[in-house]
């Protein structure tokens, strides 16, 4: 299969779509605006991706690219993961698009669950022999990672925005480390 000329158009559409979905969310990111950004006609978007849902599905396809946690010294798991996520988030607006859109679009929320329960859950599952406990640890890690992403890139809470990546890693890594390798805490019966 040779490279068709339309591939450039498809790529331009996807790039514009990612930016618009990341900046405006699903409802406010219109096909017209995306087409204008990509300098093409709105009908081309429909031709190539069928519908707005189809365009979003193509634009939000991505991989967390998690490192193999077995090659990481156990006491550096938290730092490694937090650094990885911060880097990943700063360099790929697909994650921001998915995050912003997951609040109102059921399909995006489902994708978000699949990514974090799937990719992160699988990586963590190899650290804890008990599947339920491993899933719980992965969920707690996701809560802190997504909380940072939400406050920093979506809401824009000033103190969180102003943290440097190094400060972010230094503060948050111990949290993730404890969620991954710390003992299950006692729960007080009320």
């Amino acid at each position: 299969m040779t490279a068709r000329r339309s591939d450039a158009t498809r790529a331009a559409i996807l790039r514009a779509a990612r930016e618009r979905f990341a900046a405006d969310g699903y409802e406010r990111a219109t096909i017209r605006a995306i087409a204008a950004d990509a300098r093409i006609d709105p009908s081309m978007v429909m031709r190539y991706y069928g519908s707005k849902e189809g365009l979003f599905a193509a634009a939000a396809e991505f991989d967390l690219r998690l490192p193999d946690l077995h090659e990481v010294p156990e006491d550096q798991l938290g730092e490694t993961l937090v650094r990885h996520f911060v880097d990943r988030w700063e360099s790929d607006d697909r994650l921001v698009a998915l995050l912003r859109t997951a609040s109102t679009n059921p399909g995006a929320a489902e994708r978000m669950r699949a990514v974090f329960a799937g990719q992160l859950g699988a990586a963590v599952a190899r650290l804890d022999p008990d599947p339920a406990a491993a899933a719980r640890r992965a969920g707690l890690v996701a809560s802190q990672i997504l909380g940072i992403a939400f406050t920093r890139w979506i809401v824009g809470l000033p103190p969180v925005v102003e943290l440097t990546p190094a400060q972010l890693v230094a503060w948050v890594a111990p949290t993730v480390q404890r969620y991954l390798t710390g003992p299950t805490p006692d729960t007080i019966t009320p």
Copy 2:
């Protein structure tokens, strides 16, 4: 000023609006749907609240009702705060409405910043004499609290949804405790 009959209508509108905004977000929650839920005519919403923005502003008005942190033993700050937020979140869908809407509506994001930088920031400011450090601590606390809320009530990540409130407090309280009272970590220069 005596109670007017229209007060019941206004209250019904606000209740329906909170539910719709919490469930659907700002764009998908239509005035027509809210009016139908409240069993009144859509034009009444406009008459009472002027615009959709005005309705949202009225529906999302709320207070975190933070306890006075000075009356809490220092080593129980994390537990107290996490328990408070979990209770608050489960019993008031205004917070869910604001959270879901903050992703796409700039006004809601601004409100969210005001609430967490203001109310939470003020409560934490009295624990740390350095204003910048206190703001940073409050921001980190917000990141974990909002991360739990986002994964549990918005995205619905299964392992986080399945945690009982007691488990949630037991796991997350140490994180918040460290953000509030722990030492500032060293940052490695890259």
